[in-house]
């Protein structure tokens, strides 16, 4: 039991590649090139969800992206600081370097010429064109068309350069491209039905790892791509193990069965205990998701701004964060992540003052009725709060809030639903009263939040978007439209500062905290560096290595 397979593997491969120390003598450039051939050892990553969708453009969930990042490359990636770094593109197109025209309508992208697909075929501009057009193909079951739909007249200048036009300026497009993984035209273009290809079970990419095998319900094995054009990989194999139970996931991390505990990581209540495990490092990984209580403004109850204000005053964010989440995440006032360049630091901090909340309601005419619950004009101040059934910590938070609200004469009934029901039309078509949910509002590092806050994004009113709280503010609409067409960050920030201020004032939802997730790895694993701008911690496996 004590001899774990990983260790054995390490020793075995170490013997095989015996002369590891020699690299010290070589020049830096040579090391970079050699690193791939030096790949040694393996890493076993545990996920509590199973990656199944290998085609990066078909509908998938975040855990699938943990594989995509390693099999494929986008034109450029976003680093932990929120900056774009070239990947398949030779440089990131900007207005300054002429990659994007002043008006944001014309794009020119130059590609690397030393990239090959896992099957040996060369990577060319044709592949980029194919990928964008695939996402426009009406017959293709694309996950997202947002942004790609605006691209017109893709022209291939030569094998490693292409241009296109945008139907309108769209500032978030670089961010969208940073998660648009390029797929091979030669393997996919001839498919009769773009939705049914071998690619789904046998993907070919340009990434640092190539697809090894998948044992459904169990694990996915990736092998080092020794010809990778970028850094690494330094590991010979990566195994993504699917362990559906969070307790078992943690136990296997503790016993050493897995080297890395990934999505959904360690539960906050185990933080202290986890830090005591010898030879393990626990990492707090920032996430861009913001946990909030959202109000359905279509409900007359929540149209009263004083009600929203009172509910905010009676929301004990401090206790929720400190006691239930063990102080791991940080309280926040904004829907943008703190790491974002566009984050507004000047938002006033929400207070917790139940007495004042009661006073606000008194003044607004909501007076306690016979059963202790406040009423006004025959309407009781009672509503439901829903979230995904089975999320224990969130359920505890609901119960805590329920208690405080009851103390000021507000009845909050907890009514949680199975995920299929919760996030179906109940959520999308605004059929709820209030919801507790963690949402990533941003598009990667881009601050555009039109999808969540523009009045044209209300699905319940025939719009296209996820403004499920039915928030309408003309000024915010204007600012969102303005911000979506701006390409100079300094100027853009002013617009988004103002949007954040207005939304904070209107309170269509009450932000509580920005998520921070507990991840962990064995001591000696280097390169593990969670990125707030992507959804999964295995985004940079090419940089991982054993010390």
């Amino acid at each position: 039991m004590t001899i774990r397979n990983t260790n054995r593997m390490n020793r075995r491969t170490l013997l095989r590649t015996g002369a590891a120390g020699m690299t010290l003598l070589m020049s830096n450039a040579a090391v970079g090139r050699l690193a791939a051939q030096e790949a040694s050892g393996q890493v076993v990553i545990g996920f509590s969800q199973e990656p199944t969708v290998m085609h990066p453009h078909m509908p998938h969930i975040e855990v699938d992206e943990g594989i995509h990042f390693n099999l494929f490359d986008p034109l450029f990636i976003v680093d932990t600081e929120g900056n774009f770094q070239p990947s398949l593109a030779r440089e990131v197109p900007t207005v300054e370097n002429g990659g994007i025209s002043e008006d944001g309508l014309n794009w020119r992208v130059k590609l690397r010429d030393d990239v090959t697909w896992h099957d040996g075929e060369p990577f060319t501009a044709e592949d980029v064109k194919f990928t964008i057009e695939l996402n426009q193909n009406p017959d293709f079951n694309a996950m997202r068309r947002n942004g790609h739909e605006l691209v017109r007249n893709i022209r291939i200048v030569n094998d490693h350069e292409l241009t296109w036009e945008m139907a309108e300026p769209f500032a978030p497009y670089p961010a969208i491209l940073s998660w648009t993984f390029i797929v091979p035209a030669h393997a996919l273009a001839d498919a009769e039905n773009p939705n049914q290809t071998d690619f789904r079970s046998n993907p070919i990419g340009t990434g640092p790892f190539s697809f090894g095998e998948r044992v459904a319900g169990n694990y996915i094995l990736l092998n080092a791509n020794k010809d990778y054009f970028g850094e690494g990989p330094h590991l010979e194999q990566a195994i993504f193990r699917y362990i559906p139970d969070m307790t078992v996931l943690y136990t296997q991390f503790r016993t050493g069965d897995i080297d890395v505990i990934g999505l959904q990581g360690i539960q906050p209540d185990r933080y202290e205990q986890a830090q005591q495990i010898p030879d393990r490092e626990i990492v707090i990984a920032p996430s861009s998701a913001v946990e909030s209580i959202t109000f359905n403004m279509g409900n007359p109850l929540f149209q009263d701004p004083e009600v929203r204000r009172a509910l905010s005053l009676a929301l004990d964010r401090e206790t929720i964060v400190e006691a239930l989440y063990y102080g791991i995440p940080e309280k926040t006032e904004s829907f943008l992540p703190r790491e974002s360049y566009y984050y507004n630091e000047k938002l006033p901090e929400a207070e917790f003052d139940p007495e004042k909340a009661a006073q606000v309601l008194d003044e607004a005419g909501w007076l306690p009725g016979a059963d202790g619950v406040r009423e006004k004009d025959g309407v009781r101040l009672a509503f439901k709060n829903s979230t995904t059934a089975g999320n224990n910590v969130r359920e505890q938070a609901q119960q805590l809030i329920q208690e405080t609200y009851a103390s000021i004469g507000v009845e909050m009934e907890i009514s949680n639903l199975p995920p299929a029901v919760m996030w179906g039309e109940y959520w999308m078509m605004s059929q709820f009263d209030s919801v507790m949910v963690g949402i990533t509002f941003t598009t990667g590092p881009d601050p555009d939040v039109s999808n969540y806050l523009h009045s044209s994004s209300i699905s319940a009113q025939g719009g296209a978007g996820q403004n499920t709280w039915q928030y309408e503010n003309e000024r915010v609409d204007e600012l969102l439209e303005q911000g979506g067409r701006m390409f100079v960050p300094e100027k853009r920030k002013e617009v988004y500062d103002e949007i954040q201020r207005l939304v904070h004032e209107d309170m269509p939802f009450l932000p509580m905290f920005q998520y921070a997730n507990l991840r962990g790895h064995k001591t000696g694993l280097e390169g593990f560096d969670p990125n707030v701008n992507v959804r999964i911690e295995t985004w940079n496996l090419n940089e991982w290595r054993w010390a």
Binding site: N392, Q396, N416, A420
Partner: protein, 296 residues
């Protein structure tokens, strides 16, 4: 049960039910008595227990969380939010027992009616009903239950209905088999000749004669319903907090197995005790009523 309507032909058989023989046999069945005592004690605790404790089941004491059993005012310790585990256990017991008993009543009713109609009418209706019963029996119960639970709002009533919908088949089979064997008996023919309606014959003549096996099956169904509620809650599709049930107490406890094992042990023991009691009682009743379990 009013038995006075039974025709004389059945009198001999009937005396077996009313005379004290089954009762005596039940009383002699030590396990059954133990079960009866145990479940009465549990039920009593669940009813009066919450009033005798210093804390309510919803009182949150964040600072006292994870107190082990026996600390200060917390008889069985506290949970992750510092709520009194004993108070929750008793309230959860009410919910679990209610769900178990209500599911039993519902499924027994459903099963008895379907079995009665199928057995009495035989031919087309009977065949159709029994094939339907067979079809539902082809699904492993948990599988069927989860499919239903995954798409419905998981409150106590819904869970009860779902459990009932997936556990009536056995009773239907038992009843239909009994009825088929009784259908051609003299007393039924006599009733038919004397112009009694189908409903009368089914509910007043036939049903009382199958009451023995139904009682046994019903008792065992309570036991199974309590277990099933626990399974479904454990798998995350059961009764949702803040309403506690023994099942969802266990679901929450799973992640603290390491640090606060009592959170898992206490409700687990409660479930085992309650279910064992009902199984003991069912076993005793089976012996007393001499109803052979139906292997078909």
């Amino acid at each position: 049960m009013s038995m006075n309507t039974a025709p004389p032909a059945m009198a001999a058989k009937e005396r077996r039910w009313i005379t004290s023989r089954p009762v005596r046999r039940f009383v002699r069945h030590r396990l059954a008595i133990a079960g009866l005592v145990m479940i009465s004690a549990i039920a009593l605790l669940c009813v009066v227990g919450p009033w005798m404790l210093p804390h309510g089941m919803l009182d949150i004491h964040i600072r006292d969380r994870f107190s082990p059993p026996g600390s200060e005012t917390y008889l069985l310790g506290t949970d992750a939010m510092g709520r009194d585990l004993a108070a929750r256990l008793f309230m959860a017991g009410r919910v679990s027992l209610m769900v178990g008993i209500a599911a039993m009543v519902l499924s027994t009713f459903l099963g008895a009616v379907i079995g009665l109609v199928a057995g009495y009418f035989g031919k087309v209706i009977g065949t159709v009903l029994m094939r339907f019963t067979d079809a539902v029996l082809c699904f492993p119960q948990i599988f069927l239950l989860l499919v239903l639970a995954a798409f419905l709002e998981p409150n106590a009533l819904m869970i009860t209905i779902i459990i009932a919908l997936t556990s009536w088949m056995e009773i239907a089979r038992i009843v239909s088999a009994e009825i088929r064997s009784l259908r051609e008996r003299d007393f039924v023919t006599a009733a038919r000749v004397s112009g009694a309606s189908h409903t009368w014959i089914m509910f007043r003549e036939l049903l009382p004669n199958t009451i023995g096996p139904i009682i046994v099956a019903a008792t065992l169904t309570v036991a199974r319903a309590i277990l099933i509620e626990a399974y479904v809650s454990f798998l995350g599709y059961g009764i949702q907090p803040p309403l506690p049930s023994w099942g969802n107490m266990l679901n929450n406890a799973q992640q603290f197995l390491d640090t606060a094992p009592w959170l898992a042990i206490v409700p687990g023991v409660a479930i085992t005790l309650a279910v064992t009691s009902f199984n003991f009682i069912g076993d005793g009743l089976r012996d007393a009523l001499d109803a052979r379990s139906d292997l078909q």
